[in-house]
């Protein structure tokens, strides 16, 4: 549960005033909250922890970490139960 998994942002949108996005984790696409990285843009690589992008990261580091998680077989387990990418799914609306 504590693994922070890197992925590539493939879509950015605002749901109920909250920046949300779709992130591709080596082929698995998930809904991710971008509230902590309002500057994040499509194409950026980000480290995602429990559905929240917590920092940006360079592509090479992201790819290496993903490859390691894939090799260890922990990627699917880590994303277990995660909502599949689905525009308009539940997103928090944060008070400013």
């Amino acid at each position: 549960m504590c693994l922070a998994v890197p992925g590539r942002i493939v879509e950015v949108r605002t749901v109920a005033d909250i920046p949300m996005g779709t992130v591709d984790f080596d082929g698995i696409r998930k809904e991710v909250c971008l509230a902590y990285l309002p500057e994040a843009a499509v194409g950026d690589y980000t480290i995602v922890h429990v559905g929240f992008a917590i920092s940006l990261v360079d592509e090479a580091s992201a790819m290496e970490t993903l490859a390691m998680f894939r090799e260890l077989g922990v990627l699917d387990g880590e994303l277990e139960g995660a909502a599949p990418a689905e525009p308009g799914s539940a997103a928090p609306a944060v008070d400013p």
Binding site: M1, L3, H49, V50, I54, V57, E80, P92, V94
Partner: protein, 369 residues
């Protein structure tokens, strides 16, 4: 920029061999399961020069989650709530049983990846109470706080909070006489939320070197090198090896959410006991979202909170390494765990067992070929 460089590892090892002074002992502690993954997976301990030791501290939030809080979660399941939590929590054995057992007995326990998934569950089950059992350090507390601060939360959503703050546990370690630590490798991802600055009081108040580190083998080795240099120079300070990811002041929206949703409180750490200012509680003004208030569930901690024979407390304090526990690998394995450190993927025993098994499987395969 890639941080991966085949030559870098051997360069850092060579630098470490030069830097480590004969006759001096360097005991460096990390407090993060992900760091232990890197160290164990790459066999970094076997590369370190004599005298330099890297030990695992209390870096697994599932491991330190006390049985009475799992008991509260089980109680809510038995009262008919949908309980959503992370996968590692489900098999955690306690005197109250486990959430897996509560589920087998007909309870509604759901594994989720994110508090956002729990929110979706609540929206889809308006006739049921949905409780998110929130376990984790600052990197998880922030997302839960953000959810709690959001407007338009479903009426049937609440959280059972078991969050822990990392720095107070490290301060406690420094006060335990027989825990000898010469420097800390601080957790990179926690630090993306808290900022590197949160560790400054360790060099300032305790003369304890700290280096914030990332999760590649080069990151960990560089952090060890920086710590060794600090120790040699006798100048404890805060350094940030992971500056390419960790900002010095922390993530402002994440910290602000934590502050809005939670207040700092003392908290019980399994196998360790009560640590002042190490927990987070839902602020009274959000009381209705706090499952403990909402359902009036308050279990008291138990003094003996580990199974008989289990040495997880000694593992979590860095006093022993997993194989020194008499249960390790015999009566306690990932498929049949006895103590919490063997249950969680971030637990030191789980990590050691996993990579030791891989290594012996590889050796056996090599021998057969």
């Amino acid at each position: 920029m890639t941080f991966r460089d085949a030559g870098l590892v051997s360069n850092v090892i060579a630098a470490l061999e030069k830097a480590v002074e004969r006759g001096t002992s360097y005991r460096l502690m990390h407090v993060c399961g992900s760091h232990e993954h890197t160290i164990s997976r790459w066999g970094l301990r076997s590369l370190l020069p004599e005298g330099l030791e890297v030990i695992a501290g209390p870096g697994c939030p599932v491991c330190v989650c006390p049985p009475h809080e799992v008991g509260e979660a089980i109680e809510l399941v038995q009262r008919g709530a949908i309980l959503a939590t992370f996968g590692d929590m489900v098999n955690l054995p306690t005197n109250f049983g486990s959430l897996a057992e509560a589920k087998a007995a007909g309870g509604d326990v759901r594994v989720v990846y994110s508090p956002l998934d729990a929110l979706t569950l609540a929206a889809r089950n308006p006739g049921r109470e949905v409780v998110f059992f929130a376990v984790g350090f600052e990197t998880t507390a922030a997302p839960v706080a953000t959810v709690l601060c959001s407007t338009g939360l479903p009426d049937n959503f609440s959280v059972l909070v078991s969050h822990r703050r990392t720095p107070p546990a490290m301060e406690l370690l420094l006060g335990i006489g027989d825990v000898c630590v010469d420097g800390f490798v601080a957790p990179g991802h926690v630090s993306t939320v808290t900022g590197a600055e949160v560790w400054r009081r360790f060099p300032d108040a305790y003369a304890m070197p700290v280096v914030v580190a990332g999760f590649e083998p080069e990151d960990v080795l560089l952090a060890l090198l920086l710590l060794v240099q600090q120790i040699n120079q006798g100048e404890p300070k805060l350094e940030n090896e992971y500056a390419r990811v960790v900002p010095q002041p922390g993530n402002v929206p994440a910290l602000s959410a934590i502050d809005t949703a939670f207040e700092v409180t003392s908290a019980w750490w399994r196998g360790i006991g009560r640590i002042p200012r190490s927990g987070l509680a839902v602020r009274p003004e959000l009381g209705n979202r706090d499952a403990r208030q909402r359902f009036d569930v308050h279990f008291e901690p138990e003094q003996h909170d580990l199974p008989p024979g289990c040495s997880c407390h000694l593992v979590m304090l860095g006093k022993i390494q997993p194989p020194a526990c008499s249960l390790y690998g015999r009566k306690c394995t990932p498929s049949s765990p006895n103590g919490p450190c063997m249950v969680s993927q971030e637990g030191t025993c789980f990590i050691w067992y996993t990579y030791e098994s891989e290594a012996s499987a590889a050796t056996a395969q090599g021998g057969a070929a």
